[in-house]
Symmetry: C2
Subunit: 211 residues, 2 copies
DNA sequence: AAATAAGTTGAGAGTACGGTCAACTTATTG
DNA sequence: CAATAAGTTGACCGTACTCTCAACTTATTT
């Protein structure tokens, strides 16, 4: 469906696109904390124009990473299409971590969750698929029984920090971190866990809180 | 051994102590990024005095957390005194994570390593003990063969991020994260790892690089 | 009780950031 | 080709932080 809003003037559209692609590059290289003035300067427009198109930083971040939600949903669906449920889970997590490792901005994003964008249907799609990836792996007997979707946050947070720390020295180090965690997720590795899983609403609150 | 430098004037010593304890409290509550002016103001001295005692932020951080190195060394030695090597390793990691969970400043510190203080003999003591904790657990057959001391960094980084994210909502959530990682560290869970461990010099470089 | 050394003060310089807006320029429309 | 709406500009405001220094105060020494 075409957007309901009237189209931008063509120079405005050009500037907007310029800002998004410039921000994408700067975010990818240096993380989400690049100054907005620098983005505008690099894009060759004034800071006023940036604020005109994106009143808050979160708006720009959302525009830059809008397609990522769909990308993750596609990865999840591809994982579900794999024959082996465990291999599907591993594939999904590896691909998502690769996205993180390839883009410091995205790595910041999954770890800190700046934009509280309203959950789209794309979001719901990805969420559904992730639930099914986990259920399937659990039912197959490969994934431990006591692990929940919310536990995947530990994995994301952990590898995000490792990606950040090791990017300059050993860009693939996160694969080792992930593999160690995966070995802890197997049913055969399971020992009783000391703390109940995060409830969905708790995780939602954590995400909302940014930081 | 008493310090070689001439003793401070007594009011100077009082101000210095005041600054350190104030900084300790503020760091613990709000992390390492508290403004130095605020620390001075809270301590009831002028900012000039703060900069007189601690020319750089790192100097203050070092003074605040100077004893932590020894604390960790003691925890490690206590872990080594335990009969069961695996239990010793678990105990060590749990205690260190408890330190992180109890102090946001320390959590920042282990995760970002601000001060490049010259490694003291206390450092060496802790390091030695950690090596022995791991060796002992490995030789007992409980810890997987292919895991190194450098791999513990993944654990520290990961739980640090989890502690940070979950502190407000579920302060004990890190225990679950840690338990999942521990299950991946058992010899019985071991599957081939996809990436060689970080070399000691690589880890050192990562630490040096701050961030 | 001077004399001297040690330490403190707080205003302010310098920097960087997010954000605003009246004046200006450009695209589109009839 | 006006007329008008849309968009841009960049100087400027406010804020927050690090860091400095000349004038001042306090402790210590003889």
């Amino acid at each position: 469906m075409p957007p309901r809003t009237k189209p931008l003037r063509k120079d405005a559209q050009r500037n907007r696109d310029l800002l998004v692609t410039t921000a994408r590059e700067l975010f990818a290289a240096r993380g989400l904390d690049v100054s907005l003035d620098e983005i505008a300067r690099t894009a060759g427009v004034s800071s006023g124009t940036l604020y005109n198109h994106f009143p808050e930083r979160a708006d720009l971040v959302e525009a830059v990473f809008a397609d990522r939600v769909a990308t993750v949903a596609e990865i999840a669906e591809h994982a579900l299409a794999m024959a082996d449920p465990w291999a599907g889970l591993v594939h999904f997590l590896e691909r998502v971590c690769e996205l993180q490792a390839a883009d410091r901005g995205y790595n910041d994003l999954v770890s800190r969750r700046l934009p509280q964008a309203p959950p789209t249907e794309e979001h719901a799609r990805g969420y559904e698929s992730m639930v099914r990836i986990l259920d399937r792996a659990r039912e197959s007997g490969a994934l431990r029984e006591d692990v929940t979707l919310e536990d995947m946050a530990f994995l994301t947070w952990g590898t995000a920090r490792t990606v950040e720390a090791t990017a300059a020295v050993r860009p693939q180090a996160w694969r080792r971190h992930l593999a160690l965690m995966l070995d802890g997720l197997r049913a055969t590795a399971a020992r009783p866990l000391p703390e109940p899983p995060l409830r969905p609403d708790e995780l939602a609150e954590i995400m909302r809180a940014c930081s």
